[in-house]
């Protein structure tokens, strides 16, 4: 197990557990009850008590996680990605490739799937697990052909009346020569426009990183949720720090992360997401199956609720959902501020 810096107390505990377990059970010919000398003094504690202490410490660390720590948890390389969740919650996944125009972007995965008893289309960002896949996926930064593939498959889902599930996990859309030349901005814009009027239920979950337009390009949905330790914002903390603080370092990144209000609970407060999906103790990467079970539960129950909604009502509600977002003072009467007790600029 590799640890993030704020998880340091766990490293020592894990070592103690190992030593205590070894001492109790006896390894490498050491008689039970005799500790191996691992370089420091080994406490002959009860491993189960140590494990309980480990869980407590883990829980208390994750209960007090700041926004910047949350971003780093969302980026843990072993955190479940779209393809992991597909394996864990989908039966009979039939991947569909290519945008029929330019190519097949591995950073956006699309295909038919069954979740529980529901047949649906699944669309999600894939960052890549090993080095080779990560490079092919540009670390989850999709190209225009990825967004166009997603839209083409979503339109097909609409034709066949299949609900759409999207899983968001991207630092942002890819900023490169080819991406610009092939119309990155246009691809994202068209996706948002078309998703707003698709006549089938759409649910989106930010499973890891929700980076700006690259995330929103597949997240115009009837219901939007975030995994507990995901982030969703207009820009990454580093990008924001580099522009507004003129430099990105640990300190400014943390300040930017705090200022951007990018955590799940912040986004609930702003009305941007509807639900938070709980993660297992110590975040999704520690127990992917449990995280997947929670995700599946939210998807199936949400889709069930949307199943019988009249299509016109569905599309109109989706429009209103996004229509009301924003905070401003309307001098002609109503105040649309979501945080009305803020000091207003003169």
């Amino acid at each position: 197990m590799s640890y993030l810096d704020f998880e340091k107390p766990l490293v020592e505990l894990e070592r103690q557990i190992e030593a205590a377990t070894a001492a109790r059970d006896g390894v490498h010919g050491t008689p039970p009850g005799v500790a191996l000398d691992l370089g420091t003094r080994v406490q002959l504690d009860d491993p189960d008590a140590l494990r309980a202490k480990y869980r407590e410490t883990l829980a208390s660390i994750y209960a007090g996680l700041g926004p910047w720590e949350t971003v780093r948890v969302a980026r843990v390389p072993t955190r479940p990605q779209t393809r992991d969740y597909i394996k864990l919650i989908c039966r009979d996944f039939a991947e569909l490739h290519g945008d029929r125009r330019y190519g097949d972007d591995p950073a956006l995965v699309t295909g038919f799937a069954r979740i529980g008893s529901i047949k649906c289309l699944i669309v999600g960002h894939q960052k890549g697990r090993d080095t080779q896949e990560r490079i092919a996926c540009h670390f989850g930064c999709a190209h225009p052909e990825g967004y166009r593939k997603a839209l083409a498959k979503m339109k097909m889902a609409e034709k066949f009346g299949l609900p759409i599930v999207t899983l968001v996990d991207t630092p942002g859309a890819y900023p490169g020569l080819g991406a610009e030349q092939r119309g990155q901005a246009e691809a994202i814009a068209v996706n948002m426009l078309e998703m707003s009027r698709l006549r089938v239920p759409i649910v989106s979950v930010v499973i890891g990183e929700g980076g700006s337009g690259g995330a929103l390009g597949i997240a115009v949905a009837d219901r939007v949720a975030m995994m507990q330790f995901a982030w969703y914002s207009v820009i990454s903390p580093e990008g924001c720090a580099a522009i507004l603080w003129k430099q990105a370092n640990e300190q400014t990144n943390a300040q930017a992360a705090r200022a951007l209000k990018l955590t799940a609970s912040d986004n609930i407060e702003l009305g941007i997401v509807d639900d938070v999906i709980e993660e297992p103790l110590g975040a999704a990467h520690r127990a992917p199956a449990e995280a997947a079970a929670n995700l599946e539960k939210w998807i199936t129950s949400t889709l069930l609720n949307l199943k019988d909604v009249d299509r016109d009502v569905l599309v109109d509600r989706r429009y209103q959902r996004f229509r009301r977002l924003g905070a401003y003072v309307d001098k002609s009467g109503q105040f649309n501020g979501l945080v009305p007790d803020q000091d207003l600029p003169k």
Binding site: A185, A189, L270, I272, G326, Y328
Partner: protein, 300 residues
Amino acid sequence: MVPGVSRGAARAEKQGKSGTMTRAASRTWNEIKTPKRSAIPEGLWLRCPGCSRMIYRRQMEANLHVCPECNHHFRIGAVERIRQLTDPGSFQPMFRGLEPTDPLGFRDLKTYADRLRIEQEKTGQVDAVQAGSGFIKGREAMVCCLDLTFMMGSMGSVVGETITRTIETATERNLPLIIVSCSGGARMQESGLSLMQMAKTSAALARHDNAGGLFISVLTDPTTGGVTASFAMLGDVILAEPGALIGFAGPRVIQQTIRQELPDGFQRSEFLLKSGLVDRVVARAELRSEVARIIDYSGK
């Protein structure tokens, strides 16, 4: 982001100062003897970032803020844009009651509340957008212009809401919709709420489209980020001013990502035209008649 030259010039222009008074490399009419530097009233002359010649400010301004020598299009604010685009006296401003607030209590090196106050004092405007109805060569239309002078024309809740209301009004009244973009993108200080303005404006355009409405998007220097990646690229017809920087990511970000030099003219209007991303590159002097012509063809 904007290359150093034009940004510097734009700033000089904004502050009413002339460019640096070093001699131009190419010698033309501007070689005429000028009095001592201190004797020149500030801002009477300026150096064109396009051709590096000294040009007479009033002549440039009378030429729709376009360099009379090289056709460089200087950046202009929303008020000037509306004056140029609409028939004299026809523009009726709308949605003026909308004012920005600080929903996140955002603080970087300055607070957002302070930034807003400073920008409002500097520009005399409430936010980075002007909208209303007007006539273009006798054709009625809903017009919305972003304003670069206010926080780089960035889109927060007020800009997003104003654009959305303009679109909705155009749909209701079956009027052509014209949005002139110039923006650094979504406004970071409103974070997720700025991001949502992209979805909101795009969704409103879907309804306009459903109703058979016409939308002409005019892209000017610079149009980047979340503005490009939402309403700006969704025009039925997309026009771009010559030489405008238009893109999703800024050139600096791209350069840092790919670690190689960007080709000349990358992300400029002419590049986008070649790449099939805009319909026409239209000089400022032709914009009114081009817009009028497209309105006529659409039958709106």
